[in-house]
């Protein structure tokens, strides 16, 4: 036992050190995700169920839209749903980290807290986007063409939405101290967010109270651009499109795609900021 253990000199607190922390936290999310095969499968089962069971059932209720598959309408919504649940689950896993101690390992490291949170947000967003891509692969089944432009557009939009949702989850998680509270989060935030986003029904012609709620749902600003991208690539009678693709409006004005995406980005950054501040507090 006369091995010489070489002492090492560690980080001096430069940006490069924090960047390494961002990358390793990101990488951990990917490793954990890839090790959890049941999670991948179950989080895909739900969107598939929505798209093919609920979607097929609902399409019989839509009168007049002959030659149009209602599931095509639902497709961007179901992608958003996949991203929503995966992103929130990833972010809220930080509560598990708190419960099982690993959060401490991260919080006592010399790296700055923003680096941990940015890594976590990037990791959750990557994982959620990857899940979204799997659903995206089903596009052909619901008559959405595999156009490279469309796929690329959706990919970018998915990544942005995934980032915003992970940041939302982290901001929530900063307030949750116990794993048991996760159910509350799902019921109180995640499901309303999903229903109000225009993912499974159009936002056009809603009663005022409901329309108001949809406007404060950040996910609605992500679903709209995705649906517009899909609708731009399929043949659809204008009168049918008008009813289904109303999107988010402010005082009757339809938000352009760029502005809707900007809302998603800004909300994401603000929520990430909140998460960083909350996790940086020392008692």
């Amino acid at each position: 036992m006369s091995v010489h253990v070489a002492p090492v000199r560690v980080a001096s607190g430069t940006f490069a050190d924090d960047w390494r922390a961002v990358k390793v936290v990101w990488k951990r999310e990917l490793i954990r995700f890839s090790r959890n095969k049941p999670r991948i499968v179950t989080s895909l089962a739900q969107p598939v169920l929505f798209l093919f069971v609920l979607g097929t059932g609902l399409s019989h209720l839509i009168p007049g839209a002959t030659g149009f598959d209602f599931r095509t309408f639902m497709f961007p919504g179901v992608i958003s749903m996949t991203i929503l649940f995966t992103a929130i689950f990833s972010a809220v896993s930080i509560v598990w980290d708190r419960e099982f101690g690993f959060l401490r390992e991260m919080l006592v490291a010399p790296s700055r807290r923003w680096a941990i949170m940015v890594g976590k947000a990037a990791g959750g967003a990557t994982v959620a986007t990857m899940q979204g891509v799997i659903i995206l692969a089903l596009a052909g089944v619901v008559h959405v063409p595999y156009s490279p432009v469309l796929l690329l557009t959706l990919l970018v939009e998915m990544a942005l939405v995934a980032f915003m949702l992970t940041a939302f989850g982290l901001a929530l998680a900063s307030r949750i101290k116990q794993v048991e509270s996760f159910q509350v989060v799902m019921q109180l935030f995640v499901l309303p967010m999903f229903f109000l986003a225009g993912a499974i029904f159009p936002l056009t012609g809603l009663p005022l109270w409901l329309a108001t709620f949809t406007k404060i749902d950040p996910l609605a600003y992500g679903v709209d651009p995705m649906r517009r991208a899909v609708f731009a690539h399929i043949p659809i009678p204008p009168e049918v499109a008008a009813g289904l693709n109303g999107g988010v409006t402010w005082d009757g004005w339809r938000l352009p795609t760029a502005l809707a995406l900007a809302v998603v980005g800004v909300v994401g950054l603000v929520l990430l900021g909140i998460a960083i501040v909350r996790f940086s507090k020392t008692d």
Binding site: A6, R20, R35, R104, V108, T282
Partner: protein, 331 residues
């Protein structure tokens, strides 16, 4: 490095809501020493260690670790300390190797050195062969060894061990102590540990006994034990109740029942035993004479045993939500 102590604590205090967890504590730990914080659960050991690790802010007073102030330079402190908490902080989904790599990246260990260092620390705790196993397959003792290895990965100047052996079987505990000894020999590191196992801090150069947030005694284990000035005699008799009554009435002692035997404290125990046989009418089955232990030291300073203190502390702290959660998580 300069001559400043590895740990310097000046009039440190920490108050949670209305509970004073640490009360005006001062001490220092010279570089290279192994220093033990001994006391019942809830006495303020973990709070103190959390302040020194920059996880909690002191309410009053100041502390410096590796020559950096814990309140104003937390990142510098963190860079120079290693931590092993009483609750595991490993990622059980990752392998041992991945846990250590994660740590190396987080602490900015240079990449060209990280792999060698990783091998060194894993070999030291005899986990190199198991490095590719996912941590959830490890036993409690292996996890603790891995955490010690991880705490050393970035060559800290001070290694904090908060109850490093809690929840482990005696054999594994002994092993862990061997590693810690080995470590001191090889890394010339300062070790700061807490424990509520009375036999453990014998390994330390110096011990502070803490009770109700205050340091009641601080010295080497030898000096502390000799300061008790009394030996412990334990006797088993045919009728313990009668024996206790006689010891009390005839000899003016204060016998207690502990671990199935009658326990008394007397100066010069070896000379007292003949008196015992002469004066006691109850037949004696066995007598044992023991030098004072740290438990006796604790008793002589606080008037209570560690175990009694833990019972009352648990009650006292049950009203504090912060600590209650921590205790709940410890199960």
């Amino acid at each position: 490095m300069n001559d400043e102590p590895a740990v310097l604590v000046e009039r440190l205090g920490k108050v949670f809501d209305d509970i004073t967890a640490v009360d005006d504590v001062s001490f220092d730990v010279p570089v290279g020493e192994s220093f033990g914080f001994l006391g019942p659960n809830g006495a303020g050991k973990s709070t103190t260690i959390n302040i020194l690790c920059t996880l909690l802010r002191p309410t009053t007073g100041a502390a410096r670790v590796a020559a950096f102030d814990v309140a104003s330079h937390p990142a510098d402190v963190r860079r120079h300390i290693g931590l092993v908490f009483q609750d595991s902080t490993l990622d059980e989904y990752l392998t041992a190797e991945e846990n250590l790599r994660f740590h190396a990246e987080l602490y900015g260990v240079p990449r060209d050195l990280a792999e060698d260092r990783l091998r060194d620390v894993l070999e030291m705790v005899e986990l190199w062969e198991r490095r590719r196993s996912v941590v959830s397959t490890y036993s409690g003792g292996m996890k603790r060894r891995l955490e010690i290895a991880r705490g050393l990965l970035h060559s800290p100047r001070v290694l904090f061990l908060d109850e490093p052996t809690v929840g482990l079987d005696p054999q594994t505990r002994a092993h862990i102590w061997n590693y810690i000894e080995e470590l001191r020999r090889r890394e010339s590191i300062t070790i700061f540990l807490t424990t509520h196992y009375m036999d453990e801090p014998e390994h330390c150069d110096r011990i502070a006994i803490i009770d109700h947030g205050r340091i009641v005694a601080i010295d080497t284990p030898e000096v502390l034990k000799s300061s008790v000035g009394r030996d412990r005699i334990e006797l088993r008799t045919e009728d313990d109740t009668a024996a206790m009554a006689e010891l009390r009435d005839r000899l003016g002692l204060e016998p207690t029942m502990a671990e199935g035997a009658v326990r008394i404290y007397v100066p010069n125990g070896d000379r007292f035993i003949p008196t015992l046989f002469a004066d006691l009418s109850v037949p004696i089955l066995s007598v044992s004479l023991a030098q004072p232990t740290l438990d006796d030291v604790f008793m002589s300073y606080t008037g209570r045993t560690i175990r009694d203190s833990e019972a009352s502390n648990a009650e006292r702290l049950a009203s504090n939500p912060f600590i209650r959660r921590r205790m709940g998580a410890r199960r």
